[in-house]
């Protein structure tokens, strides 16, 4: 820091390795979208690229925000998003049919998407406020459960199973990191094992139930709902180690792979870049996530620790659920691969998470510096 450099100090303090890794993932995503459009910047690669760099700069800007601001904003942000979720639900009821976003004119805001980081921060803020001695009391458990339950239920009503699951997972992860007794998680897992079949029969919508059934046996209905998984596996499997080559994917170019630019973009990539491309994306993401968890470990405040580890894990859930889905290890739940899949919402969420992580990182370094 005291080293003299032509680079201004605030710039030099940025975690360049992570930023470069993120940029690499984003640019690789643009290359894949370029190919998915049949070798054209439109309609996907160009808008996606513009958005990516806008959000990336925004993330760098966000990183200058003081950690304390996040701490104070956690609950109000959560509250605003719950209200927006209600609004979306009401709008859907008025217009007839389900709706997930609010049209604000300049942007289509998807409150459920922003709820993913917000729930992590709200839970982190709760445990931040809780005296350490209370951690193993019942009072440490039920409020976060309520915090998680309200948005999860609202999102479930939309109905958006994938996002609801991610909101739950994000909140529960913070609870786990906060030191809630392990037996509760074991017990919870057992309860889930019991509840899952019940939920399957009474809570899930027909199309959701169908997706689970197809996941369990994709070949049972290869031309309808199982088509997605089957074609995705064909794309990945036929890519081999080195892939068919840039612009040479047939599954995507001949439209056999559905949603080849959004949820199944990884299959589009794997067909042309093979196992090596896949390992690149997985490794790059693991590096980013690992860095994020380490930011949490290094952070000084309890809020910062829980937030950093929680947000990294949110990014991890995105990647893991999406990849398991395209490889036939999970049902099709509609979670995109952030920064690669076409679409602004996930892009925005992940880069916002990154910005907050960088801001926490900056804070902890500053403290170290002192």
């Amino acid at each position: 820091m005291s080293r003299t450099s032509i680079i201004p100090a605030p710039l030099a303090r940025l975690p360049w390795r992570v930023l470069l890794t993120i940029t690499a993932i984003g640019c690789f995503g643009l290359v894949v979208l370029f190919s998915a459009a049949g070798g054209s910047l439109r309609p996907w690669a160009l808008p996606q690229g513009v958005r990516f760099f806008v959000f990336l700069f925004a993330a760098v800007g966000v990183s200058t925000v003081r950690e304390d601001v996040w701490r104070r904003a956690a609950f109000p942000a959560y509250a605003v998003l719950v209200v927006l979720l209600f609004a979306v639900e009401l709008l859907g009821a008025v217009r007839g049919g389900s709706q997930r976003w609010l049209d604000l004119g300049f942007i289509r805001l998807q409150p459920s998407e922003l709820m993913k980081p917000a729930i992590v921060m709200a839970c982190a803020r709760f445990y931040d406020m809780l005296p350490p001695s209370e951690t193993r009391r019942f009072g440490a458990i039920w409020p976060p459960c309520v915090l998680i339950g309200i948005p999860a239920a609202l999102v479930m009503l939309q109905p958006d199973l994938g996002t609801a699951l991610m909101i739950c997972a994000g909140g529960v992860t913070v609870m786990f990191l906060a030191g809630i007794p392990l037996r509760l998680f074991v017990g919870g897992a057992l309860a889930l094992a019991i509840a899952a079949p019940l939920a399957f029969n009474f809570v899930l919508h027909d199309y959701q139930r169908n997706r689970v059934l197809i996941f369990l046996d994709p070949e049972s209905d290869p031309l309808r709902t199982g088509y997605h998984i089957t074609q995705s596996k064909i794309a990945i499997g036929s890519g081999g180690i080195f892939g068919k080559g840039f612009l040479n994917g047939t599954q995507s170019h001949l439209d056999y792979l559905p949603e080849g630019q959004t949820d199944f973009v990884f299959a589009t990539m794997a067909e042309e870049w093979g196992l090596l491309g896949g390992i690149f994306i997985i490794a790059a993401y693991l590096m980013v996530i690992r860095w994020g968890v380490n930011v949490g470990v290094r952070a000084k405040s309890r809020f910062a620790k829980l937030t950093a580890a929680g947000l990294s894990t949110t990014i991890f859930y995105y990647v893991a659920i999406n990849l398991m889905m395209v490889m036939g290890l999970a049902p099709v739940v509609g979670i995109p691969l952030p920064l690669v899949s076409f679409g602004g919402s996930a892009q925005m969420t992940v880069l916002l998470c990154l910005g907050i992580l960088m801001s926490i990182d900056r804070e902890s370094r500053r403290k170290t510096g002192w």
Binding site: F176, L286, I289, G296, A320
Partner: protein, 697 residues
């Protein structure tokens, strides 16, 4: 559990966090490893399987139906060939929105509401994988319009293919049969994808069916790159089809067509042989269906029309029609008499009737012929002469000769159905009816009535064998001619006497004077015949036998004619059978038809001139008449139902249609009943010969 350290301090809390964060990081790394492993499994271990699947997605192998082998006549003129055909089919399984698809097709192809009703009716019946024809034989522009829109029309298959074409139309229907789409049963039996390829047809009847193996050929294949929606992106490779082998027939298609036209409005059949080699030059059964429209798929209504027609157009009368041969067997009888030692000069006095036991047998000439020898008995077709001679001799002496000249025989021909009739004798009767042969049986058989039944093919063989004196075997395929036939095992002098009798039929004041030929140096030898299909009661005979013209069609006599020419050195032989012809219209009667057909072989222009004179009088050529009939039927059955418009897919082959079976059964029952009637009612039937109706002498 209770011993678990209670988190009390921030330090302890921080420690727990680090431990759990490490646990979380490890789990994330583990999941990452799992994902890499899973991807490796898909991309390495299962790479081959998925590459194959990807390839089969990408590449679409389309079969190119093989071009069907031609059927050509003896000179190489096509009897059945292929014309380029642009067609549009629907594959029911793949259609997504039928109403939208049909609406768009209607616009593109300018379909009539009837067309749409037919397609809908067909779709209801079709198994999902069977293509249903929307249109065929459309213009290139229309075809291209559909092809361009194909991506948005799943299940619509525009195909450029070949359609079977029969230039002579109905004239060759019962020779060639026709082709059609394979039945669901055929597909289920073999699972051959070729059978459900749009545009592919299999032989359904006639030679198309019996020669299917040779005619089919080997399908080609086209590899194209297609998108998930079926749009063709690129053509990768094409393996051309191998057309089926051309089948050359002994038929002369010119003669075939001429004979068919010359039959006019008759329900009849013609067989013409080269009587030296046994090559079949014509095999005509009229009226017939148009094999062109049959091959394209006919409507239920059309099928009904053909089924209901009392002229049985669905029946191949040449091989399926069985008729009492009537007097056409008299030359053969004469040969048998000579072989049995009867002198050709021995005379029998014909008084007009003959009493046998308590029955009276009449001659066709009520006043009688007076004394007649063998030659004149044949020429005048005298019934009494043959009654008396065969009464003396017994029919068991005649039957072997009848079989030798071809009656009751089955021939080695590529035809699906051959009924071979009956040559009765005492052994046959005791076997079949467990009763003894009677004199009346002999007498009825002697004039080709009673138990005797033959098809036109056998009658033509009979004429050819008597004419040439050889045991010719009929052949239809040019490479299966049974040449070098042995001579008949009879005295050549006897054959000569019989032929002289037949010459006199035409040229010596006999019953067939109308068939005298006008080709210089060529004379016809023939024998006329009439086969009665009803009983004539004593009361009717007293009041005067009803004229055929006043009888309903079904009760009129059959008119038969066998002949060969030139009489002095026979080269061609023919048989003509007119169902219920009844000798009512002179230029539509068998002798003149026989004359013209034989004339065609020696002087085409003369024959065509004769046809041109008469054809307009019965409503024009075959096509014109068939079109008029169809229009009339459609008008009469104006209440067209949707089902009526549907394509008839389940119909049996024409020659196996229920209508044909019914006709054959009824006819056989009739024939069986006649002799019994004679014995019991005292000779009321069997009084046929060759009436002079329509003959000038």
């Amino acid at each position: 559990m209770t011993r678990a350290p209670r988190i009390a301090t921030e330090a302890q809390q921080g420690y727990t966090f680090s431990r759990r964060a490490w646990l979380l990081g490890t789990a994330q790394l583990g999941v990452g490893g799992l994902l890499v492993a899973r991807m490796g499994w898909l991309a390495i271990a299962e790479n081959e399987r998925y590459s194959t699947l990807s390839e089969s997605n990408r590449v679409n192998n389309t079969m190119i139906p093989p071009r069907r082998g031609w059927i050509v006549d003896r000179a190489g003129h096509p009897i059945a060939d292929n014309r380029t055909d642009f067609r549009v089919d629907l594959i029911p399984d793949r259609v997504e929105d039928l109403d939208r698809t049909l609406a768009l097709l209607q616009k593109l192809l300018d379909l009539t509401p009837e067309d749409l009703l037919r397609v809908r009716a067909d779709l209801k019946k079709a198994a999902g994988f069977q293509p249903v024809q929307v249109v065929d034989n459309i213009s290139w522009e229309r075809f291209a319009a559909v092809q361009v829109r194909q991506p948005e029309l799943p299940g619509v298959a525009p195909t450029r293919g070949f359609a079977r074409n029969y230039p002579a139309g109905a004239a060759v229907a019962h020779l060639t049969g026709y082709v059609g789409t394979a039945t669901a049963e055929q597909y289920k039996a073999t699972k051959d994808p070729l059978l459900v390829t749009p545009g592919f047809k299999v032989g359904k009847d006639g030679l198309e069916k019996t020669l299917e193996k040779q005619l089919r050929g080997t399908p080609g294949a086209k590899r194209v790159e297609v998108t998930a929606r079926g749009k063709v992106v690129a053509e990768l490779a094409t393996r051309p089809d191998i057309p089926g082998k051309t089948q050359k027939l002994t038929i002369d298609v010119g003669l075939q067509e001429y004979a068919a036209r010359r039959l006019g409005t008759n329900s009849g059949s013609v067989v013409v042989f080269d009587c030296q080699t046994g090559e079949m030059l014509a095999m005509v059964s009229m009226p017939a269906y148009d094999p062109n429209s049959f091959s394209a798929g006919i409507s239920h209504l059309e099928w009904q029309m053909l089924s209901a027609n009392d002229h049985v157009p669905l029946m191949n009368k040449v091989t399926q029609g069985l008729y009492p041969p009537g007097s056409t067997v008299k030359p053969m009888n004469g040969l048998a008499l000579l072989e049995a030692g009867v002198s050709p000069d021995e005379r029998i006095f014909c008084s007009g009737s003959l009493r046998v036991g308590n029955g009276i047998f009449h001659c066709h000439k009520k006043r009688g012929h007076g004394p007649l020898d063998l030659r004149n008995a044949i020429a005048q077709s005298c019934d009494i002469y043959f009654y008396e001679m065969i009464r003396r001799l017994g029919y068991d002496r005649v039957a072997p000769i009848a079989r030798m000249v071809g009656l009751g025989q089955k021939f080695d021909l590529p035809l699906a159905t051959q009924r071979y009739g009956t040559v009765p004798d005492s052994a046959w009767k005791s076997r079949k009816y467990k009763s003894n042969w009677t004199v009346a049986d002999s007498l009825n058989a002697s004039i080709g009535q009673g138990y005797v039944l033959a098809n036109p093919l056998q009658l033509a063989v009979m004429a050819a064998r008597i004419g040439s004196g050889r045991m010719i075997q009929p052949s239809l395929l040019a490479d299966h001619v049974h040449s070098g036939a042995a001579a008949l095992t009879v005295n050549p002098d006897h054959l000569r006497i019989v032929r002289e009798g037949m010459w006199k039929v035409v040229n010596g004041g006999g019953t067939g004077g109308a068939s005298r030929m006008y080709v210089p140096g060529i004379q016809l030898a023939a024998k006329t015949g009439t086969a009665q299909v009803r009983r004539i009661t004593m009361a009717e005979r007293r009041g005067g036998v009803l004229k055929n013209a006043s009888l309903p069609f079904k009760l009129r006599d059959h008119a038969l004619f066998v002949c060969f020419a030139p009489a002095d050195n026979p080269r061609y032989a023919a048989a003509i059978v007119l169902e219920h012809g009844g000798h009512t219209v002179r230029n539509l009667d068998s002798p003149m038809i026989g004359r013209d057909i034989m004339t065609w072989l020696f002087d085409r222009d003369l024959a065509m001139k004769s046809l041109a004179e008469v054809e307009p009088t019965w409503g024009g050529d075959i096509r014109t008449r068939m079109a008029a009939e169809a229009a009339a039927y459609r008008a009469a059955n104006a209440a067209e139902t949707e089902a009526g418009l549907g394509t008839e897919t389940d119909a049996p082959a024409p020659t196996a249609a229920p209508a044909v079976e019914a006709v054959t059964r009824a006819r056989n029952a009739n024939a069986d009943a006649t002799p019994g009637d004679i014995a019991n009612t005292g000779g009321v039937a069997g009084t046929t010969g060759s009436p002079d109706t329509g003959t000038p002498d």
